[in-house]
């Protein structure tokens, strides 16, 4: 496989990829495109195997990592209450914290292998239940925002690059950078004050927070949730689209000097079409990388935006779990977050050869 084309997803922070799959080479010429190399099954097996190993590593790490957090969950939970030493001991026993660490670890592993993530200390409910309760809320928020900011970022990024250096480019890039630099909670609060409470001639159009007014069902409920969704999604899109824009823009700028574009133009194609059909698809690889990274992140939720808009998602749950520390819940959430990123990275790895046959050969 072409070394320079190995996707390095985790460390991609949005910068232009100096050496990417677009590099030309004698090996590349003459090969039929659209067909994946014959080594693909082996490539897939390697990637999936790597992902499984990573997941196991996460499982082990999450157990030990969170035991390094200072603080005794039992003391924290009973702090400020009248609790006898017997009761404290009973708590420890109930949570299994009185066992030696290796025993706790084997219990944890046994539990994980049977698909359980344990019981939350503070909510006294299975961790799985707490996660499945908040996961759809988070996915609704971050997923909607993800689709919108990705589309917006790619679209504006491509336009900006195509007219690189022009006023449109400068405006778009400047605006995106400004919004990208704004703290999301601050922007969220501003939006609440202006568009939820209302300011001057602007009426309060949206709810100030939460996911629902409560008590509705069916279609009315869906509309109600969508109504609550607008401001947090706008906040996320505003803050996030800049990254996609910048990556798409720089990737496309690198592509701009390509001979094939001159050829396309020479064929008499309109400029717009040259961009859409020829340049953008070739410049998509870094963006695809970013998209998958972002997709993996959607699961982790967004603590600040969730807090400002009182959105009952995983981000808030993670924060609550950490402050105890509610070990089973923290471990469970950490595993889910890490698993999402690993799965998405693996998917990106698997998609690459389809986009660029030199990868995975």
């Amino acid at each position: 496989m072409a070394a320079e084309a190995t996707p390095a997803l985790a460390e991609d922070s949005g910068g232009p990829r100096a050496s990417g799959p677009r590099a030309t080479g004698p090996r590349a010429t003459g090969r039929r495109a659209g067909r994946v190399g014959s080594g693909y099954p082996r490539y897939v097996a390697g990637k999936v195997g790597g992902a499984v190993v990573s997941l196991l590593a996460v499982l082990v790490t999450s157990f030990f990592l969170f035991r390094l957090i200072p603080g005794d969950p039992v003391k924290f939970m009973t702090g400020g209450r009248q609790v006898s030493a017997e009761q404290l001991a009973a708590y420890r026993q109930e949570f299994g914290l009185d066992l030696p660490l290796w025993k706790q670890f084997t219990n944890y592993c046994g539990q994980a292998l049977t698909g359980g993530l344990g019981t939350s200390y503070q909510f006294r409910a299975p961790v799985i239940d707490k996660i499945t309760e908040a996961l759809p809320n988070t996915l609704l928020l971050t997923g909607t925002a993800f689709v919108l900011y990705t589309l917006l970022g790619v679209w504006l990024g491509a336009r900006a690059a195509w007219r690189g250096g022009g006023p449109g480019d400068r405006f778009n890039t400047g605006l995106a950078l400004t919004l990208y630099s704004i703290p999301s909670f601050w922007l969220g609060l501003l939006l609440i004050i202006v568009f939820a409470v209302g300011m001057g001639p602007i009426p309060g159009l949206f709810p100030t927070g939460g996911m629902e007014s409560g008590g509705q069902e069916g279609f009315a409920y869906a509309v109600d949730v969508a109504h609550h969704l607008v401001l947090p999604v706008v906040t996320l899109v505003a803050v996030e689209y800049g990254q996609t824009l910048l990556v798409t823009r720089s990737a496309l700028l690198d592509e701009m000097g390509g001979d094939y574009l001159t050829t396309a133009r020479a064929k008499g194609l309109r400029d717009d079409l040259v961009r859409r059909r020829h340049a953008v698809p070739n410049a998509m690889l870094p963006t695809v990388t970013l998209i998958f990274v972002n997709l993996g992140r959607t699961v982790a939720g967004v603590i600040l935006v969730e807090t400002v808009f009182s959105w009952p998602g995983l981000g808030g749950l993670f924060y609550q779990a950490l402050s105890v520390p509610d070990l089973p819940l923290v471990q469970g959430l950490f595993f889910v977050f890490a698993a999402a990123v690993i799965v998405m990275n693996t998917l990106a790895d698997l998609v690459y050869p389809l986009l660029d046959p030199r990868v995975g050969r």
Binding site: K75, T263, L273
Partner: protein, 622 residues
């Protein structure tokens, strides 16, 4: 170049077309999303909500704390126990004017001379929301469950730890036998649950009571719905024995961010917000339709010293600074604290200057030092005391400890409490002038160094109950950990024989006035030891909309607070305002117009855009 023939070549390959169409699709989806967004700006739901409000008066309260459990056997957080107060009747309640124990589920109670047998008469006019009558058997079952099932003792086990036997000889008679006298028998904060519902629950320690609604209860409200971190919904209990609440519905709505909650109050989306910061209170003050309630709180805010951590078996541990074992040093430190500045600058006036251990809100137990006794702000005298104690300044103006090193105290502070940090800065200045250094040790979780005794001073604070027994008990020698490895209930390892004797006396004293006198004596003793010094009693700052709530009962009745009361008085007594529900109407109709206009503009724009694109691409299609 390979790329070129991949896309520029034949239109036959499936991969080229979708990619070629992508920008159009993209524009289309983005437009659709925008249209959706625009359409949603039309507040479709305020209409039904307004109609709803016309029939039903809803009191919406902003809350931030997550519910830990809705099971009365497990819940310990304020939000959950407050809800249980509303849903289940307790044996007794507290008088909203003076915190005295008054009838709840029990109409009267009496004890034998040895104070070991308590008999409660259970009222016959209380019914569960499923229609069954509440009897003494329900109460007996609740207490027995807590005494026999470790899981059921999670939340309030301390109340029954001293119970010997609980029986219900008749439906209106409950008898509790004790192992030794207990002062809190008229203040048992234990929700009584319906036996016929709860005896079917298998493992109480795993049952959160949050799956089937409505939850069978007998309080002023009935819990009808709950969604974690979204809302808790309660309906008025029309058959409540004390009388039905005036609002039809009580909705606790989650606002995880204080500023967002304040915004919701300004808009009228919520009727009540608590826990305001000075800045938020200032912003709300003087606004039409909003009343800010700046009430004396139930907390004290104090500085505690580490007098040397130790266990009951005599082992000493921790590394508290030796100089703090000297009463003169402790007094000197507190004499160099200017409470007035702290109240004015840190609390911005939303607090009362500290004196005795128990906040003045609990009038019967409130105590103030006499003029002679008072450790008033006097930096000169403080310096003199330190000189007398043998901690004199060196050439650089620093006071040296017995080890010859300059004294620097580690002050444990809560990283989550901005007040701690602000007061800490003042301490650095004031004690610095005395020649003593201060290093602030701010942590998210202070329990570990606290219990290990690895601090010199600490910011301390407790929320006090109408019955002060607990906050008094945490300074007794009996509260020290038994051994170094165990955890005691002790607050700061204080162990003072004189204080302990007084504690025993008040515990056995059942005459309220005499007991209060002993409690005040204890406060005086605690003050004199200088182990801890109350700096302030922070106010409970809250606000509500007067166009939604016409009146609401505070506790104590005059100048008290509304959220987190010891009874259900506030929400039970709240009277809806005439105009309740109208507030959002104006914004609603404007919203509809703006929403429709925006939607039309966006749709037209999208249509034009797509039309242009289609024409252009049609010309260029290969």
């Amino acid at each position: 170049m390979d790329r070129q023939d991949q896309y520029g070549g034949g239109p036959t390959r499936p991969s080229s077309r979708p990619t070629g169409r992508a920008p159009r699709l993209l524009a289309g989806s983005a437009a659709a999303a925008l249209t959706l967004t625009a359409a949603l700006t039309t507040p479709l739901d305020p209409a039904p909500r307004r109609a709803h409000a016309a029939e039903e008066k809803v009191l919406t309260v902003a809350v931030a704390q997550s519910v830990d459990s809705l099971s009365p056997f497990l819940a310990t957080r304020l939000v959950s126990t407050s809800i249980h107060r509303l849903v289940y009747e307790y044996l007794t309640n507290y008088d909203p004017s003076d915190n005295r124990a008054i009838p709840g589920l029990a109409t009267q109670w009496e004890t034998t001379d040895d104070k070991l047998t308590w008999t409660y008469r259970i009222r016959s006019n209380s019914t569960w929301s499923d229609g069954r009558r509440v009897t003494a058997e329900d109460a007996a079952w609740t207490f027995n469950k807590m005494m026999t099932d470790k899981g059921a003792a999670t939340a309030a086990g301390s109340f029954v730890a001293n119970f010997k036997k609980v029986t219900a000889p008749s439906p209106t008679k409950l008898v509790i036998r004790l192992k030794k006298p207990q002062a809190t028998m008229a203040a048992l904060d234990v929700p009584i649950v319906p036996k016929h519902v709860w005896e079917k629950v298998g493992d109480v320690s795993k049952f959160n009571n949050d799956k089937t609604f409505p939850i069978v209860g007998n309080g002023p409200f009935i819990l009808t719905g709950y969604k974690a971190d979204s809302y808790v919904r309660l309906k008025a209990n029309r058959t409540f024995w004390r009388g039905a609440p005036k609002f039809d519905e009580l909705l606790f709505k989650y606002y995880k961010d204080g500023d967002a909650a304040v915004a919701a109050l300004q808009k009228g989306e919520v009727s009540f917000v608590s826990g305001l910061t000075p800045a938020q209170a200032a912003a709300l003050k003087g606004r039409p339709d909003i009343e800010v309630n700046d009430a004396p709180g139930r907390r004290f805010y104090a500085l505690a010293t580490n007098p040397g951590a130790r266990a009951q078996d005599g082992t000493e541990f921790g590394d508290g600074h030796g100089s703090l074992r000297d009463q003169k040093v402790r007094h000197a430190l507190f004499m160099a604290v200017d409470r007035k500045t702290i109240i004015d600058r840190v609390f911005q006036g939303h607090a009362i200057a500290g004196a005795g251990y128990i906040p003045p809100r609990f009038a019967p137990y409130s105590w103030k030092p006499s003029r002679k006794q008072e450790l008033a702000y006097d930096p000169k005298k403080a310096a003199r005391l330190l000189d007398e104690a043998g901690y004199e300044k060196n050439d650089e103006g620093k006071r040296l400890g017995k080890d010859g090193k300059p004294i620097t105290y580690r002050v444990l502070c809560h990283a989550t409490d901005p007040n701690d940090k602000a007061v800490g800065k003042y301490l650095q200045e004031w004690w610095g002038e005395l020649g003593i250094g201060v290093s602030l040790d701010c942590r998210d979780n202070v329990t570990d160094p606290w219990l290990a005794g690895t601090y010199d001073l600490a910011f301390d604070g407790w929320s006090v109950n109408p019955d002060p027994d607990y906050v008094l008990s945490i300074h007794t020698c009996a509260a020290l950990p038994k051994t170094r490895k165990e955890t005691g209930a002790t607050d700061n390892f204080i162990c003072d024989k004189k204080y302990d004797k007084l504690y025993e006396r008040q515990l056995a004293e059942h005459d309220p006035a005499k007991r209060a006198a002993i409690v005040k004596e204890m406060e005086s003793r605690l003050y004199d030891t200088g182990y801890m010094n109350v700096i302030a009693y922070p106010n409970a700052v809250e606000a509500y909309r007067t166009d939604q709530i016409a009146s609401i009962e505070a506790m104590p009745r005059s100048g008290g607070n509304i959220y987190g009361q010891d009874g259900y008085w506030s929400w039970w007594s709240a009277v809806p305002a005439e105009s309740s529900g109208k507030s959002s109407e104006g914004a609603g109709s404007t919203g509809v117009i703006v929403g429709i206009v925006t939607g039309v503009v966006v749709l037209t724009g999208v249509a034009v855009l797509l039309g242009l694109r289609r024409r252009a691409t049609a010309d260029d299609r290969e």
